[in-house]
Symmetry: C2
Subunit: 230 residues, 2 copies
Amino acid sequence: MAGVRGWQEVREAALARIRSGDWPAGGRIPDEADLARDWGCARATVNRALRELAAEGWLERRRKGGTRVPALPVRRAVFGIAIIRQEVEARGGAYGYRLLADATAPLPGAVAAALDVAPGAPWRHVVALHLADGAPYCVEDRWLDPAAAPAAVLFEAQSANEWLVRTLAYARGSFAFAAVAADAATAAHLACAPGAALLALERATFAADGRAITQVRLLHAPGHRVEAAG
Amino acid sequence: MAGVRGWQEVREAALARIRSGDWPAGGRIPDEADLARDWGCARATVNRALRELAAEGWLERRRKGGTRVPALPVRRAVFGIAIIRQEVEARGGAYGYRLLADATAPLPGAVAAALDVAPGAPWRHVVALHLADGAPYCVEDRWLDPAAAPAAVLFEAQSANEWLVRTLAYARGSFAFAAVAADAATAAHLACAPGAALLALERATFAADGRAITQVRLLHAPGHRVEAAG
DNA sequence: AAGTGGTCTAGACCACAAA
DNA sequence: TTGTGGTCTAGACCACTTG
């Protein structure tokens, strides 16, 4: 059982035992020290491999409780969230951008609730269109705390998406996917039929002190898919 | 600059430097050996912390090239993909299940292309409805290689979703999100209007030898959201 | 050619949770 | 109480890639 050379090989060996049923679902596997002896490597190497498998959902680990193969594994899928320009260029398209609206307006109740802010507060509402090879790619519908984005910052040439990532890139946030029907204005911008099914990516961003900075809904053109490594 | 106690504290210290601009975007940061000396810990501890930050998208690392703060970070969002029953129960609902159709039919071209299988091959087509508290939760529209799922396996009481996860849980796969309009049959099952925007989660699963096993499209009831930790 | 991250090792101590 | 994973250390060698 020796001959295992690195943590990635240990990972593969462990995964093979899970898949083969050698380590049955719901059961406990040997502890790290035993596996290290069997595989002829250091315990730290086994630890690294099993830690990775646990992070991927293949194993569950507990101090004193040992390591188990979950009866019903919860796999994890990872999505990369980039700037829209990067996304378009990564798909091989030429990026374009057009500002559609930029005004101060009362914060809608639904957005306020998600951000835990008083509804009706005057926030900055920015709507913009992102294009790939001249065709509509997605509509960015954003609400911004005016305290975080002074009116002097214009989004004519640079999108709010990009300005925010550059300026306060490193903040907490949440993501969600949903499907929404295109309203008349959005349909016009995306050159699709009103009521068309659009993939929406919603994102809320908070400052270190917990106060909301911005909420954005990206409405993608019909047919758009977001893929993940499984 | 000493007094850092573990890799998580090193991680926080490094993140603080990124956020404060002390390590500017696009720039290179000191190498592991220097940081270990500054923070008074072992190089392996610094390595662990920076490796985690790189996995989250905060840093980019290259041998010989050093570690850099990306100019435009690509953040990563992680979604947990569980069994539908678990998903419903996790939301606090009572789970229900109903098989709608189970027949052999020629594999549609679009599915065949995604799976790299000959179109028109006779595959098993299973359609089922999952319910939460008696209300439609999602429609499962699945194509199965008959070699992987013998006709003797019935999906009357147990969903194909659950059977597959239990039986060949540990296979490679891919995920994608999309938005689709409800067709007449789906609308009837989900008790929504035809044409309603539905969030679709598509998943393809492959055996270890690379052959396709199954493709499934989960069409969720209108308003459904899938959230991720950002 | 040489610098930097990637990883392994052997030993140690700690923290948590199960028995 | 005690077993198991979580982590740290110091040193070492390797692999990639840049200059």
